[in-house]
């Protein structure tokens, strides 16, 4: 079952207007560890210590500072931080649309599923239109003290909101200074054939995190006094430019046989 909504809002696109609710889309599944002192097995606790007095400082004696110059701060108290928080904004207005392929995965910070807060006619029509036109609506909303900028997208008749990374947060590919190398046409044909031969549809249920289970097994073995074997990883030898053609050919044969 879907999780209960975390936020309700009113969506506006052109003449269309309908209520929606946001639902969490993913949860984190992870084995939790504590940190220990290796020598004596003591558990570690985080302590914030004053750099001048070398004494632990309790939470109520802490403030934040913006460093105007080295060691010189503008002080922000708790209520200052609160004053800087955004007011909740339940009107999500779509100002314009972009092509979905322009929102590359690097730009997506997180996302929520949307449900209709009414009969769903407007919801279903907008989801169908966005899917058909392959567009996403650019919008803004605010809850839990934070303004989000993002995109309204559709998939399989469902709407979702994606929060996007802020201006200047995604590194431009040009700044990577990649070497200027061109792929040779016959290599490219072989590589595309190999990719096709190794291709499949994406089904998330094929991709389950098995490591969590294995970590728990490791813990149990160690708790029973077993010492696990430490296997050394094998270093792979990079394929040289000269061997590329032959390696692609061999890979393709194997992929076809598989």
């Amino acid at each position: 079952m879907v999780r209960s909504p975390i936020f309700r809002a009113e969506l506006e696109a052109g003449k269309l207007r309908f209520p929606i609710a946001l639902h969490t889309a993913v949860r984190r599944e992870r084995v939790r560890f504590h940190l220990l002192h290796e020598k004596d097995g003591g558990r570690l606790r985080r302590e914030m210590v004053c750099s001048a007095e070398d004494e632990p400082v309790p939470a109520e004696e802490r403030v934040r500072g913006w460093e105007a110059r080295e060691g010189q701060f503008v002080i922000l108290e708790r209520e200052d931080l609160r004053a800087a928080k955004a007011e909740t904004d339940r009107r999500i207005e779509i100002h314009h649309f972009v092509r979905v392929e322009e929102l590359d995965p690097r730009r997506i910070a997180r996302g929520w599923r949307l449900s209709a807060g009414d009969g769903g006619e407007g919801y279903a029509a907008l989801a169908a239109a966005l899917s058909r036109a392959r567009r996403a609506g650019i919008c803004r909303w605010a809850f839990r003290g934070r303004v989000r900028r993002g995109a309204l997208c559709a998939r399989g008749g469902r709407l979702r909101l994606l929060a996007l990374r802020h201006a200047g947060e995604v590194v431009a590919v040009d700044d990577l200074d990649l070497p200027e190398t061109e792929a040779e046409p016959d290599h490219l044909d072989a590589a595309i054939d190999l990719i096709e031969a190794m291709s499949d549809g994406f089904d998330p249920s094929d991709w389950i995190n098995e490591r969590q289970k294995r970590i728990r097994e490791l813990v149990q073995r160690k708790a029973a006094g077993e010492e696990p074997e430490l296997e050394e990883p094998e270093e792979k030898t990079p394929t040289t430019a000269e061997a590329l053609r032959e390696t692609l050919r061999e890979s393709l044969e194997r992929a076809k046989a598989a």
Partner: protein
């Protein structure tokens, strides 16, 4: 230039390419320092051992799994790595899928890959082949002792790695209204027209972080009210004038707006 987070190899089929991982993201939030209210001294984070009371440096720390209250089984990074020795050294593509098939809700953070010496040719080849086919390679990869599902895709000649949530981390949409709603075809036609007319090129630089700007405005107000405080480390040093401090705040706000 961004420093390397990890280096190793990527493999598809029998082709192995030496690469280095660098972050594709640079946080643009104003940096705040935690201070002691009394004397404006910056606070330092210590990890104190509850047995010996010492501040424990990172190389003497170990992860512990709590099997019952107060009883831990220590697990070293080496042991975690040895669970899947290859996966921490190499990103092996298990299969390729259309990049557009991956639900954007599942994407986490991203890294850029750079070729290491000798890997330039196969790197450029894979990037070009992925761009032409619109595919992404899927692999399981262990970074910092944590396994992630990653999608390897390409843009503008660069290989990009984006983490994808595992299938069991996805919450179902079962029971999400409206279920089986049939949209009115005329309404959809009209909306498609409207959506196409209102389409503009995507401008990532317009996505200004309003939260950070509000915070900097508050810093500016506080500067006017209370001025600047010297930490004990800066005792006796001349304080910046209000004008100087304001100039720095304004420069930071300009950077947040993407105007420099």
């Amino acid at each position: 230039m961004a420093r390397g987070i990890w280096s190793g190899t990527i493999s598809f089929g029998l082709v192995t390419i030496p690469v280095r991982l660098v972050s594709a993201l640079v946080p643009n939030r104003p940096e705040l320092t935690m201070l002691h209210a009394e004397d404006a001294a910056p606070l330092e984070r210590r990890m104190i051992c509850e047995v010996c009371g010492e501040d424990v440096p990172p190389r003497e720390r170990v992860r512990g799994f709590e099997i019952e209250e107060g009883r831990h089984v220590p697990i070293t990074d080496r042991e975690l790595e040895a669970l899947d020795p290859e996966k921490s050294r190499s990103i092996d593509v298990e299969s390729f899928v259309p990049l557009a098939d991956i639900d954007p809700l599942l994407f986490g953070r991203s890294w850029h890959l750079k070729p290491e010496s000798g890997g330039e040719k196969p790197y450029a080849l894979l990037a070009e082949a992925l761009t032409r086919t619109g595919r992404a390679g899927l692999a399981r990869f262990v970074l910092k002792a944590r396994e992630r599902l990653v999608a390897l895709w390409a843009m503008d000649g660069a290989l990009v790695l984006s983490s994808v949530r595992f299938g069991d981390e996805r919450l179902s949409e079962e029971g999400l209204p409206p279920e089986d709603a049939e949209p009115d075809p005329d309404a959809v036609d009209d909306l498609v027209d409207y959506v196409e007319r209102a389409t503009r090129p995507f401008e990532p630089e317009a996505l200004v972080d309003e939260n950070a700007l509000a915070l900097m405005r508050q810093v500016r107000r506080k500067l006017e009210e209370d001025g600047v405080e010297n930490a004990p480390q800066a005792k006796g040093r001349r304080k910046p004038s209000e004008k100087e401090a304001k100039a720095r705040i304004d420069a930071r706000m300009k950077r947040l707006r993407g105007e420099d």
